[in-house]
C-alpha cells in the first residue's frame, strides 16, 4: 500500500519518471516498424503484431514505455482499455492507402470523442511518405477533419509527416509529444 502511494506521488509530482505511450492505427500502417526504428535504429521487416508489443525507448533523456497494439478490426476493441493508464497516444496512418483513409478517420473521431483519450496529447503520424502517391501532411489534416484541432493556441493534436524507411519525422514527432506531456503535467500541478 505504501509502495502504491509512493508510486502515485512520484507519478504526480516527481520529475524523474517513466512515460507510457500507446501506438495505435489501422493494420499495416507501420506501427511496429516505427517502434523498431526508434528502439534499434534500424529498419526491420516485421510480421503482423499479435496482441501487444512493448519496448522501452529514450527521448530527450526521458524513459518511455511504448505499447504497440495490433490494428486488426477485432483487436481495435482492446485499444480503449489502455487510454486510462497512459500519458499520450500515437496514431499511425498509411498515407499511401488512399482507399482506407475514411476508415482511419472514423477511428480518429472515436478517439477524439473518448473521455479518457481527450485529456492526453494525440500525435498522428502520416507514415510512408516515401511512397510516390502518398498524401502530404496539410492535405491529410484537411481530409481527417482536424483543422480546428490543429489550429488551437495550445494544440493537443498534431499531424506529422513521417517515413520509417527513410527515418524522416519520427524524432520530431516524439519530441513534440514529450514536450506536450510535460507542459500538460505542469499546468495540472499549478492548478
Amino acid at each position: 500500500m505504501g509502495n502504491w502511494f509512493t508510486n502515485v506521488w512520484d507519478r504526480l509530482f516527481n520529475e524523474k519518471r517513466e512515460f507510457k505511450l500507446v501506438i495505435i492505427g489501422l493494420d499495416a500502417a507501420g506501427k511496429t516498424t516505427i517502434l523498431n526504428k526508434m528502439r534499434f535504429d534500424e529498419y526491420i521487416n516485421s510480421a503482423p503484431t499479435i496482441g501487444v508489443n512493448t519496448e522501452d525507448i529514450q527521448v530527450k533523456n526521458i524513459n518511455i514505455k511504448v505499447f504497440d497494439l495490433a490494428g486488426q478490426e477485432k483487436m481495435r476493441n482492446v485499444w480503449k482499455y489502455y487510454y486510462s493508464s497512459i500519458e499520450g497516444i500515437i496514431f499511425v496512418l498509411d498515407s499511401g492507402d488512399t482507399q482506407r483513409i475514411m476508415e482511419a478517420k472514423d477511428e480518429i473521431q472515436n478517439l477524439l470523442t473518448n473521455d479518457e483519450a481527450k485529456q492526453v496529447p494525440i500525435l498522428i503520424f502520416a507514415n510512408k511518405q516515401d511512397l510516390p502517391n502518398a498524401i502530404r501532411g496539410p492535405e491529410m489534416t484537411d481530409m481527417l477533419g482536424l483543422v480546428e484541432y490543429v489550429n488551437k493556441k495550445t494544440p493537443t493534436v498534431k499531424v506529422q509527416e513521417s517515413s520509417a524507411v527513410q527515418d524522416r519525422g519520427l524524432l520530431e514527432g516524439f519530441e513534440w509529444i514529450v514536450d506536450r506531456i510535460v507542459q500538460l503535467a505542469q499546468q495540472r500541478s499549478q492548478q
Binding site: P48, K74, V78, S85, G96
Partner: protein, 326 residues
C-alpha cells in the same frame, strides 16, 4: 455480411486440401489471406506481402478482420492451387521453394520475384485468376475447368504432388473424373456447370460434411424472409428439445464469450504490467534497505570499538581465527 457467417464460410474454405498450406511456403494452416490474389498465406509470408504495399497486395486476417462480401464470394471459388497455376506456371521443377526454415532474405527475394517481377507467370494469360474472376465469371469457370479437367495441365503443374500421392488419392481422382464426365454429359446449362465446378474444386473433399452448395445458401439474398423466420422457429423448437446443441449453436453466446475473454485478457495484462512496475520499485526499495542496514552495522561496530576496543579486537580476532582454513 455478418462476421459469424464470414468466419463460417472462410473456415469451410480453409478445409479444402488446396488451402491447407501457405501459397508461398510449406507452412501448414495459413490464417492470413492476400485478398488481391485470392490466396491464403502464413504469418511470416504475410509480413513480406505487407512490405510490398497495398497497391500490389492487401493482407487480411481470417479471424481478426472484416472482409468485403464480394471478396468472400471470390474465396468460395478460388484457391491456392488455381492462383499458383498462374503465378508459378513457369517455375522450374528443381527450384527450391520456400520452407519454414528459409531466411528472411530468401523469402523477400522469392516473393518479390513471384509477384512484383512476375518471373514465373503464365504468359498466355493477360491477368491473374482473381482479376479474371472479377472481369468475367464465365472465363474464370472455363479456366478452372480446364485446370482440373484435362490431364495435361495437372501433369505439368502438379508433378511433384503426383509422385507423392498415395493410392487412395489416385482412386479419389479417378472417382472425381468419372463424376465430372457424368456431369458434363448430363448438363449443359450454366447453373449445372457451376455445380460441376464446385464439385471439381472440392474434388478430394468428398469425406467432409460441408459442401459448397450449403455455403452458398448461407447468405443467399434471394430467400424470402418469412420462410427464414419459419425455419428459425422450427430450429428453435428443435433446439429446445436438445439444450446442449442449442448452447453450442447460438452465435450470440459465442460472441459474448469472445467479448468476455478479450475483456479478461486486457484486465489481466494491465495487472501484469502493474506488478512488473511494482517489482522494479520493490527492488529499488530493497537496495535502499540493505544500504541502511550496512550503515547501521558500521555504526554499531564503531560504537563497540569506542566502548571497549580490546573486547572488540578479541572478537574480531576470533572470527579471523575461525575463518582460517587450517
Amino acid at each position: 455480411m455478418d462476421m459469424n457467417t464470414q468466419t463460417k464460410i472462410l473456415e469451410a474454405v480453409l478445409t479444402k486440401p488446396e488451402n491447407k498450406t501457405c501459397a508461398d511456403c510449406n507452412m501448414k494452416n495459413p490464417k492470413w489471406a492476400s485478398i488481391t490474389f485470392g490466396t491464403f498465406v502464413c504469418l511470416r509470408c504475410s509480413g513480406m506481402h505487407r512490405q510490398l504495399q497495398v497497391h500490389i497486395t492487401k493482407i487480411k486476417s481470417v479471424n481478426l478482420d472484416k472482409w468485403q462480401p464480394e471478396v468472400v464470394e471470390l474465396y468460395k471459388y478460388i484457391n491456392n492451387y488455381i492462383a499458383n497455376s498462374y503465378w508459378e506456371q513457369r517455375l522450374p521443377q528443381g527450384y527450391n521453394k520456400l520452407t519454414i526454415d528459409s531466411s528472411p532474405s530468401e523469402v523477400e527475394s522469392f516473393i518479390k520475384d513471384k509477384y512484383v517481377n512476375k518471373r514465373w507467370v503464365n504468359t498466355a494469360m493477360s491477368e491473374d485468376p482473381a482479376k479474371l474472376y472479377y472481369r468475367s465469371r464465365d472465363e474464370f469457370e472455363q479456366y478452372a475447368r480446364r485446370l482440373y479437367g484435362s490431364e495435361e495441365t495437372i501433369a505439368t503443374v502438379n508433378k511433384d504432388d503426383k509422385n507423392q500421392s498415395t493410392d487412395a488419392q489416385k482412386k479419389q481422382n479417378v472417382q472425381i473424373k468419372t463424376q465430372q464426365n457424368q456431369n458434363q454429359n448430363q448438363n449443359s446449362s450454366d447453373r449445372k456447370d457451376q455445380q460441376a465446378i464446385n464439385q471439381m474444386s472440392h474434388h478430394s473433399q468428398s469425406n467432409t460434411q460441408l459442401d459448397i452448395g450449403d455455403l452458398i445458401n448461407l447468405d443467399a439474398p434471394s430467400k424470402p424472409s418469412h420462410s427464414q423466420s419459419n425455419q428459425n422457429i422450427l430450429n428453435f423448437s428443435n433446439q429446445m428439445n436438445q439444450p446442449q446443441q442449442f448452447i453450442q449453436s447460438n452465435n450470440f453466446n459465442q460472441m459474448n464469450q469472445a467479448g468476455i475473454i478479450i475483456k479478461w485478457v486486457t484486465i489481466i495484462s494491465q495487472y501484469v504490467f502493474w506488478i512488473e512496475y511494482e517489482s522494479v520499485t520493490l527492488k529499488n526499495n530493497m537496495n535502499l534497505l540493505i544500504q541502511q542496514q550496512m550503515m547501521k552495522n558500521q555504526m554499531q561496530q564503531q560504537y563497540q570499538f569506542q566502548q571497549n576496543p580490546q573486547q572488540y579486537s578479541f572478537n574480531q580476532g576470533n572470527m579471523m581465527m575461525m575463518n582460517i582454513p587450517k
